[in-house]
C-alpha cells in the first residue's frame, strides 16, 4: 500500500511525497553504507594522512601497504606474521563444520518429516531449543570435554563445537522444507520397495538445492563470524580469524595503526560479505527461516 495513492491527491502533492520518500531512503542507505566506505578509505591511507585528515578525506597518496601488513607482518599477540594464518584456520574450521552440520541436518529433517515416529515432535523441540541457549552455559563443561578428548585448543575441537551447536538450525531448515514435500511420493517409493537411503538420495535430495544453499550460507556466516567459541577453545596459533582480528586491534605494542586495523577487519569480513553479495537472496531467506518459522 502506498502513502502516495491517497484519495483525491493533487498531482503536485503526490509528486512531493514521492520525492520525499526517495530522498529519505537514499539518504538512509548512504548512512548504512558509510561505515564500509570509511573502512575502505582508511585502509588505503597512510598513517600521516589519517592523523592530518578526517574520516572522509580522500587519500592524496593511495597505498596498499596497510593491506600487505595486515595480511603478512602485523602483530597478533606475540607473533608478527599477519593474519593470513588465522584466515586459513577459519577456512579449515568452517569447511568441515558446514559440510557435516548440513549433511546431518538434511538427514535429520528427512527423518523428522518422512519417517515419523511417536515423539518426533519432542525430539525436534529439544534439538531446536539448543539453538537459542546462551552459549555461556556450555563453555565450562565443553572446555572439559574437549580437554578429555585431547582436542582442546585445536581446529578439530572447534569443528566439533560448531557441528554440535549447528545441527539444531540445519535440522530446522530441512525439516520445514521437507514438510512441504509431497509425502505421497515418498510413500509410493516405499511401496515400490525403495529403502531409506535410496528415497533420500533419489527423491528428496535432487529437489533440495535451494534449502541446501540457504543452510550452507547460514552455517557459513554463523561459524565464520563466531567469536565466543573461538576465544574460549582455540587460543594462540589455532585461533580463528575473528579472535585474531580482536587481538590485532587490541595489541598495545607500538603505534596504533588504524589503517592496518581496517584492512584486517575488511579481510575478516570479506568471505561473508562476498557470500552476501553473490547469494543475498538466500541469505535473507535463511535469516527469515531462522526467526519466523512456517
Amino acid at each position: 500500500m502506498s502513502i502516495a495513492s491517497n484519495n483525491n491527491p493533487s498531482v503536485s502533492s503526490q509528486r512531493f511525497w514521492r520525492v520525499l520518500i526517495y530522498t529519505t531512503l537514499i539518504v538512509m542507505a548512504v548512512f548504512y553504507l558509510l561505515p564500509l566506505f570509511i573502512m575502505l578509505l582508511t585502509s588505503v591511507k597512510t598513517l600521516d594522512e589519517i592523523r592530518d585528515g578526517n574520516l572522509l578525506t580522500l587519500p592524496v597518496q593511495w597505498t596498499l601497504e596497510p593491506w600487505k601488513k595486515a595480511w603478512g607482518t602485523a602483530c597478533v599477540g606475540l607473533t608478527c606474521e599477519g593474519i593470513n594464518g588465522y584466515f586459513w584456520n577459519s577456512i579449515k574450521m568452517v569447511v568441515p563444520s558446514v559440510a557435516i552440520s548440513t549433511i546431518l541436518g538434511a538427514i535429520n529433517g528427512y527423518i523428522l518429516t518422512k519417517w515419523r515416529f511417536p515423539g518426533h515432535r519432542w525430539v525436534f523441540a529439544l534439538m531446536l531449543f539448543g539453538c537459542f541457549i546462551p552459549f555461556q552455559i556450555v563453555l565450562l563443561p565443553m572446555s572439559q570435554v574437549l580437554g578429555f578428548l585431547g582436542i582442546a585448543g585445536s581446529t578439530a575441537g572447534l569443528v566439533l563445537v560448531h557441528v554440535t551447536y549447528g545441527i539444531g538450525f540445519s535440522t530446522l531448515f530441512f525439516r520445514n522444507y521437507y514438510e512441504a514435500f509431497p509425502t505421497e511420493l515418498v510413500n509410493a517409493a516405499k511401496i515400490d520397495g525403495a529403502g531409506f537411503f535410496r528415497i533420500f538420495w533419489r527423491i528428496l535430495l535432487p529437489s533440495s538445492a535451494p534449502i541446501i544453499v540457504v543452510t550452507v550460507i547460514w552455517q557459513f556466516t554463523n561459524i565464520w563470524n563466531d567469536f565466543l567459541f573461538g576465544a574460549s577453545f582455540a587460543a594462540g596459533e589455532h585461533a580463528p580469524m575473528t579472535v585474531a582480528l580482536n587481538n590485532l586491534v587490541n595489541s598495545t605494542t607500538g603505534v596504533k595503526e588504524y589503517n592496518v586495523d581496517m584492512a584486517a577487519a575488511i579481510i575478516a569480513a570479506a568471505p561473508t560479505l562476498l557470500v552476501y553479495i553473490v547469494a543475498g537472496r538466500y541469505f535473507v531467506r535463511g535469516l527469515m527461516a531462522g526467526s519466523v518459522k512456517g
Partner: protein, 297 residues
C-alpha cells in the same frame, strides 16, 4: 521372497531412521541438556578456580545478586536491550514502510540496509571503535566541517559508552528487522485495504488502523529475536569497548566470562549463566511452543 525376509526388511526400514537420527539427538541431549545440568550443579557448588561438585545451596546466587558488577551488568542490559529493540523495531518498520511504496530501485536499496547483518560483531566493533575514536573519528570530522565545539567522547565516557554499543548494534541489526517487516507488509490482504480506501481512510489511518495491527506476529518475532540477541551480546562489547571504561559497559555475558575464567569465581559465573539461560528460556519456550503448534493446523 519369503514372508520372513519381507518382515525383517520392514523391521529394518523402521528401525534404520531412528538409528541414523540417534547420534544427533544424543549429541543434543548431552551437549545441551547435560551441560546445562552440569552448569547448574556447579552453580550450587563451592567451585572457584576448579570445578567441584559439592553442594552449598543457593549462596552463589545470593552472592551474585549482591555483587555490584552484576547489578551494573543488569542495568546495562536493560538500557542496551530496551534501546536496541525499540530503535531497531522503529527504524526497521519505518524503512520497510518506505520501501513498500512501489519504489523502483527497491532491489538496489534493500541489500544496502541488510549487508551489516553478514558481518561479524567483531568487525562491526572494530569499525565503530575507529569512527567513534574521540581524537580522530567523528569529532575530528565535525571540527573540520566547522563545528569547532563539537565534542563526541562517548567511547571513553563511562556515562555514555553503553550508547555506543546501541549505535553499532542498531546499525548491524536494523536491516534484518526491516526485512522481517517488509515480508509482513507484502503478506497483508489487499482487499481490506481497498475497502478502507473506498471508505475514505487516509494513508496514515490505513497504516495506523489496519496495516500495523496486522503486523502483530512480526512484532512478536522481531521482539523475540532481538531480545535473545541482546541477552547473548558479547562479541560487540569485547570489540568495541572491552566492557569499559571501568565496568561501564559490562553485560551479563561479559560478566559470566570474567567471573568464570579470569576471576576464579566459577560458582558465581555458573550462577550468572543459569540466570541468562532462564531469562532466554522464559522468552523462547512460549514462542517456540506457539510457533510449532500453529504448524500442526
Amino acid at each position: 521372497m519369503s514372508n520372513n525376509s519381507t518382515f525383517s526388511r520392514t523391521w529394518w526400514q523402521n528401525i534404520l531412521p531412528k538409528i541414523v537420527l540417534a547420534p544427533s539427538f544424543a549429541i543434543s541431549l548431552l551437549f545441551v541438556y547435560g551441560f546445562i545440568i552440569y552448569s547448574g550443579i556447579i552453580s550450587f557448588s563451592s567451585s572457584r578456580m576448579l570445578p567441584k561438585t559439592d553442594f552449598i545451596g543457593i549462596s552463589n546466587y545470593t552472592k551474585l545478586w549482591k555483587t555490584l558488577n552484576w547489578q551494573v551488568a543488569l542495568d546495562n542490559l536493560a538500557i542496551f536491550g530496551i534501546l536496541y529493540i525499540v530503535i531497531c523495531g522503529t527504524l526497521g518498520l519505518f524503512i520497510a514502510i518506505l520501501l513498500d511504496q512501489k519504489i523502483r530501485i527497491e532491489g538496489f536499496l534493500r541489500p544496502l540496509f541488510l549487508y551489516p547483518m553478514a558481518l561479524s560483531f567483531i568487525v562491526t566493533g572494530t569499525a565503530w571503535k575507529w569512527f567513534l575514536n574521540p581524537g580522530l573519528g567523528l569529532e575530528k570530522l565535525a571540527h573540520d566541517w566547522g563545528f569547532e565545539n563539537f565534542k563526541f567522547d562517548w567511547l571513553i565516557n563511562s556515562d555514555m559508552a553503553i550508547y555506543t554499543i546501541v549505535i553499532a548494534a542498531v546499525w548491524q541489526s536494523s536491516g534484518f528487522v526491516m526485512a522481517m517487516f517488509l515480508a509482513g507488509l507484502r503478506g497483508i490482504d489487499s482487499e481490506q485495504l481497498k475497502a478502507a480506501q473506498l471508505d475514505g481512510a487516509s494513508s496514515f489511518q490505513l497504516y495506523r488502523r489496519i496495516i500495523i495491527p496486522q503486523l502483530g506476529p512480526v512484532f512478536l518475532s522481531a521482539f523475540v529475536v532481538l531480545s535473545h540477541l541482546a541477552i547473548k551480546s558479547y562479541d560487540l562489547v569485547i570489540a568495541l569497548t572491552g566492557g569499559g571504561p571501568g565496568r561501564s559497559t559490562q553485560l551479563p555475558a561479559t560478566f559470566m566470562y570474567d567471573y568464570t575464567f579470569t576471576r576464579n569465581q566459577m560458582g558465581v559465573g555458573a550462577a550468572s549463566a543459569m540466570i541468562m539461560l532462564l531469562t532466554i528460556a522464559a522468552i523462547m519456550i512460549p514462542y517456540l511452543y506457539a510457533e510449532t503448534r500453529e504448524k500442526k493446523q
